[in-house]
Each structure stands twice: as structure tokens, then as C-alpha cells.
């Protein structure tokens, strides 16, 4: 598991195009939309950061705003014909089997719960980091995790 880097507070417009911010946005948007559309959505969010520097510089949480930009882009990109069934379909490079059961259970969660679980428990982000990325209070992250994990467990137990 990749160790998440320490969140930087109030990144400026140059920081928003950094590898760290890009990684956070990609992780969150892939969890939200799956690999293909998630990466495209993140690319649009990064492009937005590059072309709206003045606006973002004045914000308290520009990373969170970029996530929302990416969310909007992702919804636009997502093919409505293909419901999100798995986050990734390509096999792992480490010859580990695709955990299809886990992925399918995750896609049946509410998007906010899924993203919170993937950020915190799959990628190791802290609650505060997840809250910043998603632009929600830490208590809300906690709520999403609590409800999402309970439901995830139920879904996996019934598979």
C-alpha cells in the first residue's frame, strides 16, 4: 500500500498541479467513477486548476473544490449504459487475483461511502485528509465510513 503523504494546508495554485494533489484527486475520482472515467475526470480537474489559478488561490480548500469539479466532469464522462460494476478490470501486476467480489460490493454502496472507504482503508489516508479531498467535515467522513463499512460487510456476507 502506498503511504499517503502528509496533507499540505491551503495549497497554492502551483501546488494544485503537483503530483501529490493529482494523486489524491485520482484516488478519489477513481473510487467514485472507476479507473477509466475517474482518471479522465481527474485530468479535467487538474486542467481546471491550471486555467483557474486566481480563483483557486482565494479558496480555503481548493483541493476539495477540484474534487467537485472532477465529480461534475466524471458524471459527464460516465457512460450511462455501463453501470459501475468494478473499479478496475485490469489484473494486478503482482499476480493477485482480481477481488471482484469486493469491487462489486463497493460499487453497490453510495458513492460518498465508497469513496470514503477507499480513501481511508484502501489508500491509508487519514480522516482529515479524506475530509479535505472530499470537502466535507471529518464527522461526515466518519459517518460515511461507519455506514458504508456496515453495508459493505453485509453485502459481502450475502454474496
Amino acid at each position: 500500500m502506498v503511504t499517503p503523504k502528509t496533507a499540505s494546508s491551503n495549497p497554492n495554485s502551483k501546488d494544485l498541479q503537483s503530483a501529490d494533489v493529482r494523486e489524491r484527486l485520482e484516488r478519489a475520482l477513481v473510487a467514485r467513477f472507476g479507473m477509466d472515467d475517474g482518471l479522465d475526470a481527474a485530468a479535467e480537474a487538474i486542467l481546471y486548476a491550471a486555467t483557474h489559478t486566481e480563483r483557486l488561490d482565494g479558496m480555503e480548500n481548493p483541493v476539495g473544490y477540484l474534487y467537485r469539479v472532477g465529480q461534475t466532469a466524471g458524471r459527464r464522462l460516465r457512460s450511462r449504459w455501463n453501470r459501475l460494476d468494478q473499479l478496475v478490470t485490469a489484473p494486478s501486476e503482482h499476480d493477485q487475483p482480481l477481488d471482484i467480489d469486493l469491487q462489486r460490493a463497493l460499487t453497490r454502496l453510495k458513492p460518498t461511502e465508497r469513496v470514503a472507504i477507499v480513501l481511508v482503508h484502501a489508500h491509508g489516508h487519514t480522516y482529515a485528509e479524506a475530509a479535505q479531498i472530499l470537502d466535507i467535515p471529518v464527522t461526515t467522513v466518519n459517518n460515511h465510513l461507519s455506514r458504508g463499512l456496515t453495508r459493505l460487510r453485509t453485502l459481502m456476507d450475502t454474496q
Binding site: S79, A122, G124, P137
Partner: protein, 426 residues
């Protein structure tokens, strides 16, 4: 109770994280131009709004005329209800028929939330130039036998608004759903007529600001015509649109820049049914439906406020009003009233009002833990049906709403937050 995150699930999530990161990095290492452009994978736009009448006034040919002598308007209080398509002869129509379901295809959505999300995305994509918006679908309120009302919020960098999307089963008899109306603001359409392809009427909206009124072909979403109505025309404004030859049209209203210069996030798409000459539509009737369904206010929890003595030397309290009713101006008026009431005092600092998340109560006082030096009952605030004391983040949660982080950030521990909900009558 078993911990839902047992070691097995924890390991599997950890492995999934590694897998996802590996795939991300592998793709980044591959040349970007080997990945299929996103545009190539996009499906076409799909219009799912049905039975929505659209008034569209052309930017190039403004036909709307101000009626300086406001006529007596007989507004029909009409809650949004689905209407069966009326496919009669053109000469038989008085107003456009409600129209059939205008989806470009017949695919069904599994849930009202999915449909609402698709609808919201399509509308935000088509926002007038210069308006930058993001949107979020929130909760679905199921009203058995009537509809599902999905709450949503849209945000600009400076503002946010909360509204409703009204969804019913499609009347085609399939499993499809249809959006009937959506709004953050109220819209009144009155004195409507359709003669020889000319749609005329009066329109007023519940909020000040420059309003863009669009008329679109309900089947193709093609813009027929649009007009801009300036300033806070709270009295009905006459409009007329000609060249109407579509089977059905949608009315879409955007409120852009008000006098204050801050772009709000205001939107409405309203419903007209065949034969209607007036309708009170948009946010207000949907809010009434929600309130009627849930009855009177949820049980209020109150905590006795112990009157304290002013300690002018060391007491400093902020007061901020939040508009959680979606009716423009109520928080501003309350703020102005309080400012006038207090006259000159350096004990109370009246902060600028904000828009808050939609709340179906009347008035709530959320008292920051360090505001107790001041007896709030002395301030002439609107009477609360709910009073909470403590950390403001927690207090918002106890109202059953989740504020944006920007809301809570500016409210310190010595702030009294007054939330004006949809049942506030001020």
C-alpha cells in the same frame, strides 16, 4: 457487535488500494495519446425532463415587455403533478401539452437518485455562459404513491443553493422514471396563452437578480429562444415567444447576478400542463409537498436558556442568520432587522447572512459554547422551535443537515447561529 472492518476485509481493501495505485501509475507511464479520448467514449446527451413547459426568450430578439401596471394575477396554486400527453391537433391546444417523456432513448434508471444525477448534470452543463456551477445530489424523499423528491445543491465559488428534483414513474407504463420539475427558487407563471405559435404570459421569480429565461424543445433540448430579464422584478414581467412549433417545450430559468454582484446558484425548471393558464411552480410547491408528507415539525429538543446578565466589559457575541428555506431575502431581512434593533453596541456583532442547507423546520438557534455571556432572548430574534447549545458542527448535524465546510469555518464558538427553515413565516 462484530466489527465490520475485520482483518480479512482490511487486508482485502489494502490489496485493492495497491492494485488501484499500480494501475494508475501504469497508465500514467503509458503515453497519454494511447488512451482513447474521453470524448470518444461519451454517450450522447439524454434529455429526461418530461412534461415541463419551457419559456424561452431569445437573446437576439427580446419580446418581453414590462407591464408597468401590475395586473391582478390570478395565480393558480398548482403542485407539480404528471399529466398525460395530449396529442391533439394544434388548433385544439390552448397551452402546450405537457409532452411525452423526452428521453432520446428508453433506457431506464434503477433509482430516482441516478435519474436526478443525470438530470442535474445535463442542466449544469447547459448553464448560461459565465455561470460556473458544480452540483451534488443529496437525499431522496420518497412520498408513496406520489413521487420521489430528490434534494440537491448547486454551488458557485461564492454561493450555494439547495433545491428539489421532482420525479415520478413515467406514464408510458414502462419502468422508466421521469423528472417533472426541479428548482431552487419559486417561479410563478400567469396569464398564459398560446395562439398561432406565440406563447405569451407573465413570469415572476422569488429572488432578485438578472434572470435568463430559456425555452427549449422538450424533445431535443434544442434552444428555441431565450431572454434576459433584469434586476429584481418581483412583480410579474410580461414575455412573449413566437416561432413555437415544437411538440412540447421546457421552461428553464436561471438567476444570475443580483444587485450585490455575487452570482448565486439559482435555478428552476417548471411544469405546465395542457390547459393551464397559470401555475405556482418551482421550489415552493415541492417544499409544501415535502412538508405535508412529513406532517408537523419533528420533535424539537429545547434546552432551557438561563438568562444571564450582560457583561459589557468582556462579552462579545456574533450572530448570523442562515437561509435554509430557499426563499431569497429572508436572512437578509432578519439581519437588517437585528442590526436596526441593536443600534449601537459593541457586544453583538451581526455577521453577514448565508445560505444554509435545506431544513424543513421553522427557526433554530444554534448557540456556540462561548456565547453564553449573552441572553439571546434579549435580541428580539425570531422565536425558535429548537435550541441547541454546543459545538456548532454537531448542532448542524442534529438538525439532520450537513453544512458545507465553508459554512462552519466562519462561525466561531461565540457565534449564535439562527437557522431559518422552510416553515419560517417571517
Amino acid at each position: 457487535m462484530n466489527d465490520p472492518l475485520d482483518s480479512d476485509l482490511k487486508d482485502r481493501l489494502d490489496s485493492l488500494g495497491t492494485h488501484l495505485d499500480g494501475e494508475r501509475q501504469r497508465r500514467r507511464a503509458t503515453a497519454d495519446d494511447t488512451r482513447e479520448p474521453a470524448a470518444g467514449r461519451r454517450s450522447g446527451r439524454i434529455l429526461l425532463v418530461a412534461a415541463v413547459a419551457v419559456i424561452l426568450v431569445g437573446m437576439a430578439a427580446l419580446v418581453a415587455q414590462n407591464n408597468s401596471t401590475a395586473e391582478q394575477i390570478e395565480a393558480v396554486d398548482q403542485t407539480p403533478t404528471p399529466r398525460v400527453t395530449a396529442n391533439g391537433d394544434v388548433s385544439d391546444r390552448t397551452i402546450f401539452p405537457a409532452g411525452g417523456r423526452v428521453a432520446a432513448d428508453e433506457a431506464a434508471f434503477a433509482s430516482a437518485e441516478e435519474l436526478a444525477q443525470e438530470y442535474l448534470d445535463s442542466r449544469l452543463d447547459a448553464a448560461p455562459e459565465g455561470i460556473e456551477l458544480t452540483g451534488t445530489i443529496r437525499d431522496a424523499i420518497d412520498i408513496p404513491g406520489v413521487a420521489t423528491i430528490v434534494t440537491f445543491s448547486i454551488q458557485t465559488p461564492d454561493d450555494s443553493g439547495d433545491g428539489y428534483i421532482y420525479i415520478t414513474p413515467d406514464e408510458s407504463g414502462t419502468d422508466s422514471l421521469a423528472v417533472i420539475a426541479a428548482a431552487i427558487i419559486g417561479v410563478d407563471l400567469t396569464d398564459l396563452s398560446l395562439v398561432d405559435g406565440v406563447l405569451q404570459g407573465s413570469i415572476s421569480t422569488s429572488g432578485p437578480g438578472e434572470r435568463v429565461i430559456e425555452v427549449r424543445d422538450a424533445r431535443t433540448d434544442e434552444l428555441i429562444d431565450a431572454t434576459t430579464v433584469d434586476d429584481d422584478q418581483l412583480v410579474p414581467v410580461r414575455f412573449a415567444v413566437d416561432g413555437i412549433d415544437a411538440e412540447a417545450v421546457n421552461i428553464r430559468v436561471w438567476v444570475t447576478t443580483p444587485r450585490g454582484g455575487v452570482a448565486p446558484a439559482h435555478f428552476a425548471e417548471v411544469h405546465l400542463a395542457d390547459g393551464d393558464t397559470a401555475t405556482n411552480a418551482g421550489w415552493t410547491p415541492m417544499s409544501d409537498i415535502v412538508q405535508a408528507h412529513f406532517g408537523t415539525s419533528t420533535s424539537a429538543t429545547t434546552e432551557a436558556i438561563t438568562p444571564t446578565t450582560f457583561v459589557p466589559g468582556d462579552c462579545r457575541v456574533n450572530v448570523r442568520f442562515y437561509n435554509s428555506a430557499g426563499r431569497a431575502g429572508i436572512a437578509t431581512r432578519a439581519t437588517d432587522d437585528l442590526t436596526a434593533f441593536l443600534e449601537n453596541t459593541d457586544i453583538v456583532n451581526v455577521l453577514s447572512p448565508k445560505n444554509g442547507p435545506a431544513w424543513d423546520g421553522a427557526v433554530a438557534w444554534l448557540l456556540g459554547p462561548d456565547s453564553s455571556c449573552l441572553d439571546p432572548t434579549l435580541l428580539g430574534l425570531p422565536e425558535p422551535d429548537l435550541i441547541n447549545v454546543g459545538d456548532l458542527d454537531d448542532q448542524w448535524s442534529e438538525l439532520g443537515v450537513e453544512p458545507d465546510t465553508d459554512l462552519a469555518a466562519d462561525d466561531t464558538s461565540n457565534t449564535i447561529v439562527v437557522v431559518l427553515g422552510s416553515r419560517y413565516t417571517g
